[in-house]
Symmetry: D2
Subunit: 440 residues, 4 copies
């Protein structure tokens, strides 16, 4: 966890205090269920909750000290609970194994982390929607391979991002469901010493579903799917960040990250305004993606379980969720405050001497009876001249002056193919698909 | 694609012939829709299908030769279609861009690949179910950390695998839906030169949904999610393969890959029977997982698109699906024919002098009023003796002989804790969860 | 292996024919050494070579057929050698195990692949050197964060690439040495049934060093290092490819991939000239990097060996080396024929109204006694005006007109800071570092 | 950074305090060189060092506060230095850019981290050597595919590990040299505003070499190679850890991690002694390997630089080195205190009824004139009987009783093939290769 890339709510989720609180709740709920089953005294179960309400907070340093001796984290915790809330604590953990607590706790943490990330996505989606409608019909050049292609609108670019993050939201909801299971099944998952009713009770109280079959641990394919989903979201973050970085290039400058008063772009070059937030997001995306591979390697535990997954999860549980939370919030801020320059977009759109309309002329020629191969050749030979003139020549004029083209298309037919609005006639259709019919 | 790790149906999907057939269908269906819209003559659209029925197969070498000249694959294909089926072919591809064909084709291929993989999973699930019920109550030792823990049944191990692959099936169904979209939206996705109705028609005919917003290409987060899902499945394959490898170890030998007559385990050591299929699966899983990272890196294309994803997909499209298809089939075969040795399982279960029952004694002591800490200490000191005797000493006897234990538990109370069936009383519960109530 | 991304010499290395030839040489050389030791008859050893010279080529299909029966590749091969060259063949493979042949063969293949890749790097380095000197003093704008920074020369960009690939060459030479070892040590590496002298003889004949300690297999940390090195080289390829892609962007267009007559950039847009080769290289780099993770996972084989590495190597051995060979050759071609536009570089350099000289003014102000903080503020407030004018205003003029600046610097002192050659005074120094003193 | 997986010396290297100290040294040494060149007053350069000696420590919180305003870390640092040591500080950073400081600092940190890791490897190597010689002739079964193969010694296993980590040491020394370069070259690496002599002076003082050509930043292929090397070392750690995990399995139990008095293996099962350290190492290895991919992705920065690498390095710089340092130390401890059970090794070796000697009989038969195919068949048919008897039958006896075998080999010839020492005759040879002639 890197403090500068961490926000409080998500970070809080991964503190020892938060973890011990969840452990306690799991243990105490389980003891309630055991009391209901008559395994432990009802008074003991009630006393555990009561004592907790009146006790000081968990003493993380004390628990750590006990763990250094016993080399076992849950035993250290239970010992501290005994010290903290008295004799009833000996009824805790009856028939359970450490992993019952640890794995169910991790499920709670990841589910809550997912809730924060889903809320992050909702904020990003809201911002993307607002700015997409703001620039629904702001013309800009579409680029394939970094080369001018045909006109689009800036709103369409944002609509695409909206649709992509909306898919990511659905994936994350699915990944959350995948991860949010409770296992209280004992040493190797047989419920030999604990009734399945305990698991059902704890699951319900902690907002989880029941793990159908566990083997001391919750199977790690669930976690792999969760972290893989975070990796896909990171990929989408990099995509949108890369778009902003491109748009802010000196020669393009169609949009720019907000530049705060007092901010310095460079210690050496006072003129610089750099897209540092989106470059940063590019790096953060690499990290979140990088955690996918260890998560995938965690699946193949030995037999009923080995503990190799644990150290991996101590890193990637917090690091992947905290980093992604930060990155989503940063991206939301970038899009929210993005400086957009429609005039510059128009100027760039115009700079290619009309080349962006070449396809429409090609189609007009074929519709006028010219073979596709000939039409391509006719358009290309004029387009290349414009290209080589660096946009100083006009494609429209060259086509009018080309005898073979003129033989097929009248001047006004050529002119009609250089109309910008022609390209935007289906923007409403696309917006309706992405945002719903009354999306605006 | 490595021939020895490839099966015909999946491989066939990725041949040039299959690709050109899909390209043709997309183009011809699109032309039908254009005819319906009045953009091209109905007779031309019909003639294209008719000519195809009477034409020789696509000539892959001819298309390659044209591509070497034009350096453009779809143009090469269209040129060949003209040569092959005559003049009507010039009405193909009106208003479309190459990616309309390429990306929709890839969607068809991946969707069909997913169908094969889903069928593979169904076969694996059927085999896992059959063998799980066969060994529903076959006792075997559960192991955590590779160390004997408590008894389970061999059927429970397989039920766990069933549940895991059942989750993978659901994930793959979702990934298939994610990937199975059609984009026929023109040069930068604006439908400037092609009506959205064409896309809708082709989508329906090819069994796809409509891509809400494309940008010349279908967004690559979809593909990333698809390949990430394959990576998770590969993780599960490695897990089950690793289980078999462990069970076949000389000292364990509780199960074994089927060993065919005439097979040689080693050129130098005639006595060897090695788990080579599951070791092979372990390696194949590494490969399928290895394809996840390039797929994640493919998401962040520049602007409306760059073509960097294309070379990646030429590798991982076939390689990931062909390898996973082979791996699933191989794993199904391994489980189907797995030699299972219940007597050996029982012998291993017995070898620890009753240590596997230590937890039950611990619980009995606490229920008899001994503090948890004392109970742990009492059991551990006897357990360690058994451990150090390599299972020659009997835990039950040592406990009976331990004065402090004897003070809390009568001999028959101790004996009652060494009952194997005690551990299996919830096997039915778990099977019902995994396979449904009437699962058998 | 994807045929379109494969070149003959490297591909040939990985054919079954090439592999069987290497197997034969290893086995026959080993038999020579065994004859020298008196273990097998000298005549038999000689007869094996003699029979081979007169025999038809290895029959790959026949060997495959035998392997389908025996399920063991080396046994299948030896059986075929017996069929092909007669009775003396029974003296082959005495005291050896399959891995002696397989692993030593892989070492030969990887060493030869490294030789091809080193030659590829030498060609790339030669081209980079030539073009670096050609453009040693061609001014162009240096960009950090995609934003204009200060002037550099195009030759410096290429010198950087040269230095980077020169480092890669040294790394590959080291990785080749790491991988080029011979193990002929028997079933578990103890030389129980084969004298170490055999290994020494084969190593010398095959151009390898002796593996100090093998365990049936050559340890896979060597291979991991080899493939990791290929991954680093792929990263450098992506870096240079990305530079070209940026330079070819419509708004920048300072350089361009060579565009062949007859080439079509887009089926729909005849005006397009896309950097498709460097985009392709970007994708190929992802693949070569993607093979690093499986290679790293291959290190931790079980005990003396398991065979999980084998399937991985069947993919990545050919795929990583063939792809990297192709990519290096393609990159060499791109740089060799790169169209460079110095006028456009100069025009872009000029477009920022002199902002690129801001740092020199900052330094002049501090040297004139202005505090660093004040100097920064003075320069920044004028630079921002130029920035917002999109380069229409002149920084030099604004500074002259700024009373606070004018109080510190005379007009001619300001002018002196806008000299382009000032930036290139150490180009010779850098070139001498990179290419050596007489580098040109 | 996870505190439980961190050791003080390495962690200290990555604190803000340590970083600011290195920044200061770089800046102050550079100012010395500038004074030597006459660019700044000698007194100022001297005053900076003097003031530092008398100043309070760097105030990290104050620097952070300034950075929150300026959004620029080096400017924040320089501002604080001014506050802390007075007016002379304005001569710092003349002609430099932030990356000169940041990248050179990172080089110092990584070089020092490498020094710690090299020392870690030296300690591991010393322990491996000691225990290898201790068990140089301790017989144990070699296993391929997890199946008994032929005898080795436990010392040979450790010698293999020694050789592997010795290679890793050499790789790390090379990676350190790759990373330990100094760049003080100004805004885009041209030395426009700073003399190369400054770079040379700082390099010498900080123990670095000069970066031949930088572009504001030190090229990231160097860092990629560094982290890839750490990934390879992690692979080797996993390999040795996996060996221990296997040896500690209940059924094998040939060696065991040291089990401290007071340690509890399981909260539920008091009898457990789990290989948790080596399982933990397996997980840590996954993490260190996981950092390789982001490092590889960092190479392809845009143009002269973008800052996307920076956030990645804030994670992996500390995380990869701290984790690997911890893992190496933990592995050293595991091997140092490993409980080794030679009697159990012998018992396991004996359990297969002599099958491990099958190859020697095979060779004896061929040397007696039996064809290889027949010999294989004869041995295999008897070996399979032993195999199926689970080691209850004796291979030696069965062979004597097999008429076809007896026709070729006399009983005493058969017996001679079941000699254990036969397998160890080259242990000295291998040890001399690995440890040198006087290695003991």
């Amino acid at each position: 966890m890197i403090p500068r890339y961490a926000r409080p709510a998500m970070t809080e989720l991964w503190t020892p205090e938060a973890r011990f609180r969840i452990w306690f709740e799991i243990e105490a709920h389980a003891t309630d269920a055991l009391a209901e089953l008559g395994v432990v005294p009802r008074e003991a179960a009630a006393a555990i909750w009561e004592a907790d309400r009146n006790a000081p907070p968990f003493d993380v340093e004390r628990i750590d000290a006990i763990e250094r001796e016993t080399k076992h984290d849950v035993i250290a915790f239970l010992t501290h609970v005994s010290e903290r809330t008295g004799d009833a604590a000996r009824f805790l953990h009856q028939g359970m194994t450490s992993s019952d607590v640890l794995d169910t706790c991790l499920a709670v943490q990841l589910a809550r982390a997912a809730d924060i990330l889903i809320a992050d996505l909702d904020e990003l989606l809201a911002v993307l929607r607002r700015r997409a409608f703001e620039h629904k019909l702001t013309p800009t050049i579409g680029r394939s391979h970094g080369i001018h292609a045909e006109p689009v609108t800036f709103g369409l670019k944002l609509a695409q991002a909206y649709a992509e993050f909306d898919r990511n939201r659905a994936r994350l909801v699915a990944a959350r469901a995948d991860i949010a299971t409770c296992a209280i099944s004992g040493a190797v998952g047989t419920f030999a010493n604990i009734d399945p009713a305990v698991e059902a009770h704890v699951a319900e109280k902690m907002g989880l579903t029941v793990e159908p079959v566990s083997t001391q641990v919750i199977p790690r394919d669930r976690h792999a799917m969760f972290f893989a989903t975070l990796g896909v979201i990171a990929g989408s973050i990099e995509r949108l960040a890369t778009e902003v970085r491109h748009l802010q290039r000196t020669e393009v400058l169609e949009a720019e990250e907000y530049f705060a008063p007092g901010q310095k772009g460079s210690s050496a070059m006072p003129h610089k305004r750099n897209p540092v937030l989106t470059e940063n997001l590019t790096g953060l995306a690499r990290m979140v993606r990088g955690y996918v591979t260890p998560a995938l390697e965690n699946v193949a535990l030995w037999h009923e379980r080995d503990i190799s997954h644990s150290s991996v999860e101590r890193y990637i549980g917090p690091d992947a969720t905290i980093t992604l939370d930060f990155a989503l919030a940063r991206l939301t801020g970038v899009i929210d405050k993005l400086l957009v320059y429609p005039e510059r977009m128009q100027r760039n759109l115009d700079r290619m001497g009309g080349l962006v309309h070449s396809q429409r002329v090609l189609l007009a020629l074929t519709q006028a009876g010219v073979s596709r191969e000939d039409a391509y050749r006719l358009v290309q030979r004029n387009a290349m001249k414009v290209w080589e003139s660096d946009g100083q020549l006009s494609l429209m004029q060259l086509l009018k002056d080309d005898a073979e083209v003129a033989a097929a298309l009248a001047p006004e037919e050529i002119e009609a193919r250089f109309d910008l609005d022609y390209h935007f006639k289906h923007v409403d259709t696309i917006f309706a698909r992405v945002f719903g019919e009354g999306g605006g």
